[in-house]
Subunit: 240 residues, 2 copies
């Protein structure tokens, strides 16, 4: 193990895309609902649209154009727009929209995630640091059996990542110093922001996050302390 990794005491995980496979989960749920309602929809495009709307919606909050609101509310806002755009707005009433929106509480983990987290938990404090709201993250953990020691959300700090308040807020609640905490994410922008706050960083590739056809940037970067394929390899590199 690299020498400076020995000071790491806690690992904070991005969740959507890093721990759970949001895309396949949303597609499966769409296909299920589509079959029941006999809707001809490209659910992969629908899932991609839902996710694409998410940074835009968060930026409206981060810029102050929208008041603070949870990811549940932002997901619902995007869902309403998407149902209209795909011409299926009439197929979902209020109750059904709320139920569909909850798919984000039931996303499936990547195949290595639970085993890797269990291994890492023996040696480190493991927690989320997600833009997902607390209720969403708690529901997801119960559904997917994610063994978090602690659930941190942007909601606690009223600042979405990549605002520094989110990273530094979690570090402070852990009672640690930034260099004792490692941010784990499948997205370089998240890690770059964590690094600017003084945290250590681990990049997890997750090449299929955006689908088999997408050319996601999974190139290792020397500026991150670790570049790994999955959580098993992360545990190995951290001697956990």
């Amino acid at each position: 193990m690299k020498k400076n990794l020995q000071e790491v005491r806690a690992l904070l995980f991005d969740v959507f895309g890093t721990v759970v496979d949001w895309r396949s989960s949303v597609i499966r749920e769409g296909e299920r609902l589509g079959r029941a309602r006999r809707l001809a929809v490209d659910w992969a495009a629908f899932a991609d649209g839902w996710r694409a709307g998410y940074p835009q919606a968060m930026n409206l909050v981060r810029s102050g154009a929208l008041p603070w609101q949870s990811i549940d509310r932002l997901h619902r806002r995007i869902l309403d727009e998407l149902l209209a755009r795909f011409g299926i707005a009439e197929a979902f009433d209020e109750r059904e929209r709320e139920a569909f929106n909850r798919i984000w509480h039931r996303l499936a983990p990547w195949p290595d995630a639970v085993a890797g987290l269990k291994r890492l938990k023996r040696k480190f404090v493991i927690g989320t640091l997600s833009n997902g709201n607390v209720a969403l993250l708690v529901d997801m953990a119960k559904h997917a059996k994610l063994p978090w020691d602690v659930v941190f959300s942007a909601e606690l700090f009223r600042h979405y990542k990549p605002d520094p308040e989110a990273y530094l807020g979690a570090v402070e609640l852990l009672g640690l110093r930034p260099w004792e905490v490692m941010m784990v994410a499948a997205h370089k922008s998240d890690l770059n922001a964590a690094k600017r706050c003084g945290l250590k960083t681990a990049f997890v590739q997750r090449p299929l996050e955006l689908g088999a056809k997408d050319r996601k940037d999974v190139k290792p970067e020397a500026r991150f302390e670790l570049n790994v394929r999955d959580f098993g390899q992360l545990a190995e590199r951290l001697s956990a």
Copy 2:
């Protein structure tokens, strides 16, 4: 199961005294340190003094006489006073005081606690709602193997219990309504405050919390939805 208990979705637990036996744990640590340093101290009186200083110190924060600070800081403030009062201030330097203060991160659970929580976790979201700070609660959970779904602390709301902001803040983060949440505590004042916020309440007796000689008030009260002996009986009453 009583009918209105069927709406309960999440259980929030007071921690010191309800989940963990702070008194025996502090006495044992004191005795260990006392033997090593050959100190003649009544460690039971020391433990009781440490705990007795805690509501007073919190009230200084709640009233605004002290700025917001974590229980770690308040515990340390009381420890410094106690070491002087017991005439052993010279026996502990700065580093040793910090180490002794961390005993509150390593308290032992009551014998029924872990098994009861595991059983309750299968049916409910289980979380802390403690005046202990997040880092303390996370360390304690790892040490005692407490299987929390979520760790809520007064620190997140910058309001100590029994301020309503603590109870209502946790309910809001869970995305639930107050009557869907049950506060579990061994202290009636905590439950009374939760009840005023609309939460359901379960009183756990813990007759030995203050030692075998103390006559702690453990009388069941009809105003609490449940009055139980331990977490096993709590799980039974909640059909978990």
